[in-house]
């Protein structure tokens, strides 16, 4: 192949070489001295997601993994500064769309904290129920991704088919399969009728039954166990040191769950267990989430029962604490031009993949946040994820990746 050079009088700016190169130039040379291979995994790779992993491999053993995230950075924090408070609700859901209720719940609770309003009982239960439905959906999604990373395509299709039910629930309740924007300051957008509650109950039974098949074909599969047992181990100490959160922290033996430690919504009125494992390897990180699906199903069942006993209506309050049957008509009048009192309002939420932090800084005059800080669980446990890869085999990269359920859009925000 002949190559022709075109004489263009413009030279590429120096930043292209200095900024856009994923690794410093000396890394490649240094690795050659150490008998290493530098592999660029991603962002266009079947097992990388929307990020680049720069892997230094010695033989078949990983020496170091350098993450290169930011390919799906959308600037949620900056965008939020230019929008009204309620316009930010759809925005903060975007990082993790399958986990929409949990994502918006943290933000909305920060607003409610600033306004100092108490949400009606019914709305609390509806929020809790849908947050758990989203948790089930997200855990199923991650289980599917983990399966296909290990090459198990049936384990990929079945959880995704089951996840369809959680989308259906969200659609019947809120009107949207994902990105529901259902949680609003003061309550929820609309009420859940009895037929939908029956459907949710049936769907939970179906998911519980079908996850037994999934357990047979994937979770107890000898090949799965061989691939994930004692792989990517994070000890209790390391997990705390590297700031791992959520199910992955609990898999290392730390019993920390925001839902139990600082209960919000209806969590303190329901009975459920915090799932903890001791091994801290890929398999226990996966099993913790599998068991959390069962706990979430229990929580949803309790919420459905409580909601059936409650009188319908009264699902929101306005800024002055007046009960509303529906937000229709009044919502934009009360919340559209909302101005928060000056101050800093922080909430912690247990999203599906771990602790989710929202901080709203308000100057007291503007109807948009002065600053919105979002720290998503993916960003918290990225360091732990990279550390656990050291000493693994190259093929374990995907097993560990899947076991963390790492979701780059969420981490990049």
């Amino acid at each position: 192949m002949d190559e022709y050079s075109i004489p263009v009088p413009v030279k590429p700016p120096a930043e292209i070489e200095s900024l856009y190169l994923p690794v410093p130039p000396w890394l490649e040379e240094k690795s050659k001295e150490g008998d290493e291979l530098v592999l660029f995994v991603g962002p266009q790779h079947g097992g990388s997601g929307h990020m680049r992993l720069i892997v230094r491999v010695h033989g078949d053993v990983i020496r170091e993994v350098i993450p290169d995230p930011g390919f799906v950075h959308r600037g949620v924090e900056k965008l939020a500064e230019n929008k009204l408070y309620i316009q930010n609700i759809p925005l903060v859901e975007r990082p993790a769309i399958m986990d929409c209720i949990n994502m918006s719940l943290g933000y909305v609770r920060a607003i409610e904290k600033a306004l100092d309003i108490e949400v009606p009982e019914r709305a609390k239960y509806i929020r809790t129920m849908l947050a758990e439905v989203c948790r089930i959906g997200t855990h199923l999604y991650d289980a599917g991704i983990l399966s296909v990373f290990l090459g198990h395509t049936t384990g990929f299709m079945w959880p995704f088919a089951l996840r369809e039910l959680t989308c259906e629930i969200l659609m019947r309740v809120s009107g949207a399969r994902i990105t529901a924007s259902y949680v609003v300051p003061g309550g929820v957008r609309r009420d859940v009728d009895r037929g939908t509650l029956n459907f949710i109950s049936d769907a939970m039974t179906y998911i519980q039954q079908k996850s037994k098949d999934f357990e047979k074909v994937f979770i107890r599969n000898p090949v799965t166990i061989a691939r994930m047992k004692d792989v990517g181990v994070l000890s209790r100490k390391e997990a705390i040191k590297y700031g791992v959160v959520g199910p992955f922290l609990r898999a290392s033996g730390v019993e920390y769950d925001v839902r139990a430690v600082e209960p919000y919504d209806a969590y303190d009125e329901l009975t459920w267990d915090v799932i903890v494992a001791d091994d801290g390897d890929s398999y226990s990180r996966f099993l913790v989430r599998v068991n959390e699906i069962q706990q979430s199903i229990g929580i949803v069942r309790q919420c459905v029962k409580a909601l059936k006993d409650m009188p319908e209506g009264k699902i929101a309050v306005d800024t002055k604490g007046k009960m509303l049957d529906s937000v229709k008509g009044t919502f934009f009048r009360t919340f559209g031009r909302l101005t928060l009192p000056a101050g800093e309002f922080t909430t912690l939420t247990e999203a599906s993949r771990g602790t989710l932090l929202y901080t709203i800084v308000s100057d007291g005059k503007s109807n948009a946040p002065y600053r919105l800080r979002v720290v998503t669980p993916g960003w918290y446990y990225l360091k732990g994820f990279m550390e656990s890869l050291k000493g693994c085999r190259l093929a374990d990269l995907q097993a560990v990746y899947g076991s963390f359920g790492y979701f780059p859009p969420e981490a990049d925000r």
Partner: protein, 382 residues
């Protein structure tokens, strides 16, 4: 000269009564109308008769039709469709459907092949260009050469007492070419993939050979025709089930079926040695594993399942044993591709460990069984 050739071809031609007999269309009191047989259609035309005779010449027919190229093509097209369809059924999906809806999308692989034909073939700058383009075509050599010595009933090219040994030796050339492809691609992922292929080669090859040898010892011959004749009463899988199991697992390893789909793991090394190929060349290298699967399944059915033994179908003549062999081979291939639905893939070191510990122990048991049965001359008793 030509007449001598013609005579040589005709003396050793495939007899298929279905197309060499005259077919009576109708006959009334004084008229009989025939369809002239296909082979005698060109019998008097100078060059065409030679070509037709050549096509039906047994060695040529064996390599080109059954059990050779055409059978491989049919098997590959069917098995790729079957793999996608059965996986889809297990996974609550439809699978290939829209191309030829009435027959369940069975010509989908053909449509894919045509798509490959019209795609651009990209040769990247770093590739060793001549080798990069040559090796996919050279792969047909070790795929088609074993056909010369693997007979299908009376259709064979070379009748040799070493047929099984020669076939296995030629089949084990395929990994060499895959490693060479990885080298010619000159890419990091291709490098990792070729290394994986070479490692897998180490882990299964000896087991495969020992398993085949233990059967050869029992039958007292490495000639495939002799071996199948010996199995007319009792198939080899009952004589030495250990050898059958070891050979079976070794085939799964050799053809990178699940759970040993390690060199081409698309989530880890993105088709490994074949990562840089595009267009029709990718289509060619992708079928390589299936071609190898076809050959090894054929060997498995000859060694353990009684080869072409089966009820004789008179209209097919010489094709009847070839058909039985083909059906057994396809059945085995279907079992192998079905593993995709319920297995993940092992890691490279785990596969090596399995190959050198459990599988090797099994092969040793098979060899001892084979030696014992061979010593008491079990075939003579039967």
């Amino acid at each position: 000269m030509l007449s001598y050739l013609l005579e040589m071809f005709r003396q050793n031609s495939v007899g298929i009564p279905l197309i060499t007999r005259k077919v009576v269309l109708y006959h009334t009191a004084n008229k009989i109308a025939y369809i002239p047989p296909l082979t005698s259609l060109f019998a008097k035309i100078p060059i065409l008769n030679l070509i037709v005779a050549l096509i039906f010449w047994k060695p040529f027919f064996a390599v080109l039709f059954a059990p050779g190229l055409v059978c491989i093509l049919i098997a590959i097209l069917f098995i790729i469709w079957f793999e996608r369809k059965v996986t889809a059924r297990v996974q609550w999906r439809y699978g290939p459907l829209e191309v030829s809806r009435n027959v369940g999308g069975i010509i989908q692989p053909m449509a894919d092949g045509m798509r490959y034909f019209f795609q651009e073939v990209i040769v990247h700058r770093e590739a060793h260009k001549p080798y990069f383009l040559q090796f996919p075509l050279i792969t047909f050599l070790p795929v088609l050469l074993p056909i010369l010595v693997i007979p299908a009933g009376t259709i064979y090219a070379i009748n040799t007492p070493y047929s099984i040994l020669v076939a296995i030796a030629l089949i084990s050339l395929i990994p060499m070419i895959i490693v060479a492809i990885g080298w010619a691609s000159n890419s990091k992922y291709a490098y990792v993939g070729s290394l994986r292929e070479a490692m897998m080669y180490f882990s299964y090859e000896i087991v495969l050979m020992i398993a085949a040898m233990s059967m050869v010892i029992i039958y007292g011959s490495a000639n495939a025709i002799e071996i199948v004749k010996e199995q007319s009463t009792i198939p080899g899988i009952l004589l030495n089930p250990f050898a059958a199991l070891a050979f079976f697992v070794a085939i799964a390893m050799a053809t990178s079926r699940f759970p040993f789909e390690i060199p081409e793991a698309d989530q880890e090394v993105v088709f490994g040695p074949f990562i840089e190929y595009t267009g029709i060349i990718f289509g060619v290298v992708m079928t390589l594993a299936y071609e190898k699967l076809y050959l090894l399944c054929m060997l498995f059915s000859i060694l353990f399942l009684g080869g072409w033994n089966g009820p004789f179908i008179p209209p097919l003549g010489d094709l009847s044993p070839a058909l039985w062999l083909f059906l057994k081979t396809i059945g085995l291939m279907m079992i192998f591709v079905f593993f995709r639905t319920f297995y993940a893939r092992y890691r490279l070191d785990q596969a090596l460990k399995i190959g050198w510990s459990k599988l090797m122990a099994l092969a040793m048991v098979a060899l001892i069984t084979g030696l014992g049965l061979g010593a008491v001359n079990v075939m003579g008793w039967l």
